[in-house]
Structure formats: C-alpha cells, structure tokens
C-alpha cells in the first residue's frame, strides 16, 4: 500500500507535465519530419531539415545567435569575476555595506527580460536618456550624432541587456561558494602569509570554477533560446533563432509548420545539449573538489 501511494502522489505532476509539455514537444518533433500534419498528406521526410540546413538565412541566424550568446556570457563572466573580487576585498575591511551592495547588484534579477530590454532601449536609443543628457550638456549637438546602439546590426543593445541581466546571476551563484572558501581556508592563508589578491586568484577562484562554469553554460543555453530581448532590441536581419521561429509562426500559414518545427527542434537540442553539459560539469568537478570542503 505504502509503495503504491508514492506513485499516486507523484502521478499528477508527471501526467500534467507529460500531457501539457512533453506531448507538445513530441507533436513538434513529429511535425518537423512531416508527420502529423495539420493540413495535407503526412509522410516521413527529411526534406524540411535539408531545406533549413541549406538556407542561408538559417545559418546567418544561427551565427548571430551564437555570437550574441558567446560574447554576452563571456563578458558577463569576466565582469562577475571582477565584482566577486571587489566583494572579496571588502569582506574583511568593510569599506561599504556588503548587503546593500549585493542587493543593488542583484536587483536586475527581479526585472523580467521584456522590461529589461525596454530599460536598455530607453537608456541607449538615439532619443534616449543618455543621448538627451549629452545634448543638454552640449557634448553632442543633437540626437542624430549619438551612435546607434539599439536595434543595430551588430547586436550591441542585445548584448548590453543580456550582460545587465545575467551578471547578477553569476555573482549570486558564486557568493555562497566564496563565503565557504573564505571561512574554510582563510586562516591557513594567514599562517602561510598568502596575500589577499593571491589567495583570491589561486585558491578562491579555482574553487569557484565549477559554479562559474555552470552559470556560464546556463546563460549560454538561455540566450540561445531567448526571444524577448532580440525581438525588442534586434534588427530584421540577421535575427535570433527564436525570433525567426516566432515570425514564421505568427504568419499563421500551416504549410510553414514543418519548417518552423525544424527550427524549434534545433533550438531545443542545442539547449538540451547545454543542459547535459551543465549536469556533467556538476558531477565531475563538484565531486572532484569535494576534498576542499571537508
């Protein structure tokens, strides 16, 4: 009885996700092979995959999305390490209130991506806040002299929005590790007279490595699949994969469905792959470093 009860407790959640999530994914998967079509004949075909792989706009989108993902997450990672470093330097001497600083750095986490894009837009667009201030101060003559930083081909606005949103995430994930490293190894460092900076880069940073790496891949995977930021801050060409998929979808033609699902499947497999990677990093490194915590 007790044994069956477990499955009864767990069943609603599994069935719910199965019916409303996995089934939707499975439908998309079948449709990408030309099966289970809404209109017309259904038969198994790889044509839609071939068509997508051969199209230039798909490769441009993939390249653009990859560049956004890699550049934004790398810059976020570097900035986070800098911020963690100054948080570490501040831990003992308390120049500033630590808690307030952390709250401020983590505040972008509470802003959804949609609104974060808007904030970056009004801050950096040609008639935006910075531009207005510069005109008022007489640094530039008028709005048109301000560089185009949003809805630009290079995706600068997109990257700024991502960096602003994701840096706090990396910092937030790493701070608990930093605190543990400090409480565990700080006294030893004192005994051996290791300087603070050296301790940070040679002891604390390597021990925070797995956490940083995991956050990095979580962000990378997220940006690959994200829709809101590039939709608001991007240009019509090249566009992010998710934006491309949405535009095909919103055209509403049922004939396009299989090609749409092909793009969706590619996006899903990229993020699934990153998920597996995060899992492996977690298993391998966290296990390996265990000695440092005991």
């Amino acid at each position: 009885m007790e044994k069956i009860k477990r499955y009864i407790y767990i069943a609603p959640a599994v069935i719910f996700i199965g019916v409303f999530f996995l089934y939707g994914f499975f439908q998309g998967f079948l449709q990408s092979f030309g099966l289970y079509r809404i209109v017309g004949e259904s038969s198994f075909t790889l044509d839609y995959y071939m068509e997508t792989i051969k199209s230039k706009s798909f490769w441009d989108s993939l390249l653009f999305t990859s560049r956004m993902a890699v550049v934004s997450s790398t810059v976020s990672l570097l900035i986070s390490v800098g911020i963690i470093y100054i948080i570490y330097m501040n831990m003992e001497r308390k120049f500033v209130k630590e808690e307030r600083f952390q709250k401020i750095v983590e505040s972008p986490l509470l802003v959804p991506y949609l609104i974060a894009s808007y904030l970056i837009l009004i801050l950096f667009m040609q008639s935006g806040t910075i531009s207005k201030l510069m005109v008022a101060l007489g640094i530039i003559e008028d709005y048109s002299k301000f560089p185009i930083l949003t809805n630009d081909r290079r995706g600068i606005g997109i990257m700024i929005a991502y960096i602003w949103k994701t840096t706090p995430f990396i910092v937030m994930m790493a701070i608990p590790v930093l605190k543990r490293v400090k409480s565990k190894w700080d006294s030893l460092a004192h005994i051996f007279n290791v300087g603070k900076t050296r301790f940070f880069f040679e002891v604390a940073l390597p021990l925070m490595g797995p956490s940083l790496l995991m956050s990095f891949f979580i962000i990378l995977a997220y940006i690959f699949t994200a829709f809101e930021v590039p939709y608001m801050l991007g240009v019509t060409y090249p566009k992010a994969l998710a934006v491309g998929a949405y535009e095909i979808y919103s055209r509403g033609s049922l004939d396009d469905r299989p090609s749409l699902m092909v793009i969706n499947m590619i996006i899903s497999f990229i993020s699934l792959g990153s998920g597996v990677l995060v899992y492996i990093i977690n298993k391998v490194f966290v296990g390996k470093n265990k000695g440092a915590w005991e």
Binding site: A13, I17, Q27, N90, F101, L119, M232, A245, M261, L272
Partner: protein
C-alpha cells in the same frame, strides 16, 4: 584601498543606470493619469492576477504531494521522474506551446483562461516542486509518525505538523510561481491568441516601440510590484524562522 571604494560606487551606478532612466522617463503625471484611468489597465491586471492565482492553486495541488515523495522516498524510476519535472526549464517553452497549440484549439482550450493557466502551470511547476522539496528534505519522518501514534488523522497531521514546517519553502516556491507567471509574454500570446490580455501583453506595443510615456509608467508599476512581492516574501519567511528560533517552540 580608496580604489575599491570608488570601484564599488562605479559598479553600483552602472547597475542602477537603467532604473535611473526609467524613473526619469516616468516623471509625467498626465501619462500616469492616462494609464490609470484606462479601463484596459484594470482588466489586464485582473486577468494577470486571476491567471497567476489559478496557476498557484494548481501548483500547490499537484506539486506538494510530488515534492513530499521526491524529498523523502526512494523508488524505481525516481531519476526519470526528476528529469521529467526538470525538462520545462531546459526545453524552451515556446517550442512546446507552438507544438500543442493545435491540440488546444481542438480541445477548445486555446484563447481561454484555462488554456493559459495550464501552460503557466507547466512552466512554474519545476520551480514550485524544487523549492518545496527543500522544505520536506529537512522534515524528519518522526514528527509525522508521532502524530500518527497519538491518533491524529492524515489531514490533521498535514495541517498541524507538516505544513508549519514546510511553510517557508512553500512561500518561496509560491512567490516564484507568481513572479514567473506575471512575466510570461510569448506563451500567453501563443495560447491566449491575443484574447487573454495580461499586463505584459497589454504593455508590449508601448515598450517595444520605446514609447517613453505609457511604456515607462507600465514598466515602473510592474517593477515596483515585483520588488514589493520579493520584499514581502523575505519578510514572511524570516518571520517564520524567527518565530521558530525564539521560544515559541513548534516541536
């Protein structure tokens, strides 16, 4: 060491800059008047709240029993169950929403409150379950057993023993559910088909064009509510913990 202090201030300013721009741009009383005298604003707020609350109720009903088992029992297939519950966080949600849209049309769920609520529930369930698992993880079975020995019924045991203990993580999970549900744009648009107008859908045309008026007012209100929710959450969770720490022994 003055350098570090200056760095601190520079970092803080950089992080606060976007908020600063928002505050500057939303200083227009007539836009506030326009937004808050428009009936559409209130309709959208009502829709958003109804969907979020319904999503939360479904989460509690479905997620709590699952979390209690996942936290404390081993059974064959547990790893698979955990993976299934994690999947909505890994596979982008719009992929499945687009996939299931046609089925929803056939079932009459597209463009309805229920359809949107179901999709929001799927997306928030992983957060709720993971958070509640943490709460159950620290609850020894002995406490419930004790209740059983002393003759408390199942419901009584849940409300007087289990619930007070897992409350902080249930509150944390619930606020995550509400925040994630509030923030949904694309999934609501796909399943709601432009019929179910939540706040993000209502404000999208304004903010996507970089509109400084209504866009700023909507964003300002949204962020304020989000911050307030988090503040209340922290306070209530801390309150519960403090109560436990100070004399008032729960067990």
């Amino acid at each position: 060491m003055k350098k570090i202090k200056i760095l601190y201030i520079v970092v803080m300013i950089l992080f606060l800059l976007p908020f600063g721009a928002l505050i500057l741009e939303s200083l227009r009383p007539c836009t506030w008047y326009y937004v808050y005298t428009d009936i559409k604003t209130y309709k959208a707020i009502a829709t958003t709240v109804i969907v979020a609350v319904a999503t939360l109720i479904l989460n509690i009903a479905i997620g709590t029993p699952a979390a209690s088992v996942l936290a404390r029992r081993e059974f064959p297939g547990k790893k698979i169950v955990e993976l299934i519950i994690l999947l909505p966080l890994i596979i982008p949600s719009f992929v499945t929403s687009m996939g299931i849209h046609f089925t929803f049309i056939k079932l009459g769920l597209a463009e309805t409150f229920l359809g949107v609520t179901l999709i929001h529930t799927v997306l928030t369930l992983p957060y709720y379950i993971r958070s509640t698992v943490v709460g159950y993880g620290t609850l020894g079975e002995g406490y419930e057993m004790m209740g059983k020995i002393m003759g408390a019924s199942g419901l009584k045991r849940f409300f007087y023993i289990t619930l007070p203990h897992i409350m902080p993580s249930v509150i944390a999970g619930s606020s995550l559910v509400i925040i994630v549900s509030f923030a949904q744009y694309l999934n609501t648009l796909i399943i709601g088909g432009g019929r179910i107008i939540t706040v993000p859908i209502l404000m999208f045309p304004y903010i996507s064009s970089g509109d400084m008026g209504a866009g700023a007012v909507y964003s300002f209100s949204y962020i304020t509510i989000n911050f307030l929710l988090i503040f209340l959450l922290e306070k209530s969770v801390k309150g519960i913990y403090n109560k436990k720490m100070s004399g008032e022994k729960l067990w």
